[in-house]
Amino acid sequence: MPVDPSIVGRSFPPTRPYAVTAEALRAFAAATGGAWTGGPAPATFPIVTAFEAMNAFLEAEQVALHRIVHGEQRFAYERPVVEGDELTATLTVTSLRQIGGNDIIGTTSEVTDATGALVCTTGATLVHRADGGGA
C-alpha cells in the first residue's frame, strides 16, 4: 500500500530522551569492530536516536520495517555526541515520490540535547518497497 502523500511536511512527536552511556558507546563502537575509549561518540552514533524517530513514524503510518531499504543518510553536526548527553530526535517528512511502485520518502530529524540545543541534523531517504515485488 502506498504511503499517504499528505504526510509531507508533517513533524512527528519528539522521541523520549535517550541517555548516552559509556556502555552504549562501547557497544556501538564494538559492533562495527572498533573501540570507544572515551571522547567523542562514533560519528554515526546519532542514528540510534534518529532510528527510533523513524520507527515511530513508520509505525504511525503502518509501514512494515522489512519493506524499508535505506537510500541515503546525511549528518550535519553542531558538535560531537559525548557520554552523558540526553538526545531527542524530532522527525519531519520532507518529500515523497513514487518510482516504479516504490515510495521514496525523504525525512529530516533534528537531534537535540537536554538543553534543547541542536546537536546534529540528519537527513534520510527511505525506500519503501512495493508489495508483491519480491523475488
Binding site: A27, T32, P40, P42, T44, I47, L65, R74, A76
Partner: protein, 126 residues
C-alpha cells in the same frame, strides 16, 4: 592526497551486535527468507554499518579532527554470507577545504564494486 585504504570484514555476528547497539532490528539484516521476500540477493549489511566503517577509517586518518558533516547514498547492498564475512574497503582522498575545513572524498567498495554513492566527510581540527 590519497589516504591509506582500510579493509574491514563484516560477519553475521557483527550484524546481530549492530542491531542490538543501534536499535535497527530490520530482519533483512538477519533473515535470508525475509530478505528474499523483498527481492534482496541475501542478508545485507545495514547501510549504516557500512557508513560507520567509513567513519572509522576517517577517525583513524584524522584522530585530531571532529566531523562537521558525513553522508552518502546507499547504492548497492553488501551481502553478508552465513559463513565467513563480507570484505569492505574504504579509500579516501583528502581535498583542501575552505575556512580550515578538510574534505575527504571516500570510495567504499565490496568485491571491487562501489557500494556507497559519493560518500564524503568534512572535518575540522578539534
Amino acid at each position: 592526497m590519497s589516504l591509506e585504504p582500510r579493509t574491514f570484514t563484516i560477519t553475521r555476528a557483527d550484524l546481530v551486535a549492530y542491531a542490538a547497539a543501534s536499535g535497527d532490528h530490520n530482519p533483512i539484516h538477519q533473515d535470508e527468507a525475509v530478505a528474499a521476500s523483498v527481492g534482496l540477493p541475501g542478508v545485507i549489511a545495514h547501510g549504516m554499518y557500512t557508513l560507520a566503517l567509513a567513519a572509522r577509517a576517517v577517525a583513524d586518518w584524522f584522530p585530531d579532527h571532529e566531523v562537521v558533516s558525513l553522508g552518502c547514498k546507499f547504492t548497492s547492498p553488501v551481502v553478508v554470507p552465513a559463513e565467513g564475512g563480507a570484505e569492505v574497503v574504504v579509500a579516501g582522498e583528502e581535498k583542501g577545504g575552505e575556512d580550515g575545513l578538510t574534505t575527504v572524498a571516500l570510495t567504499v567498495t565490496h568485491e571491487g564494486q562501489k557500494v556507497l554513492g559519493m560518500p564524503k566527510a568534512v572535518l575540522r581540527r578539534a
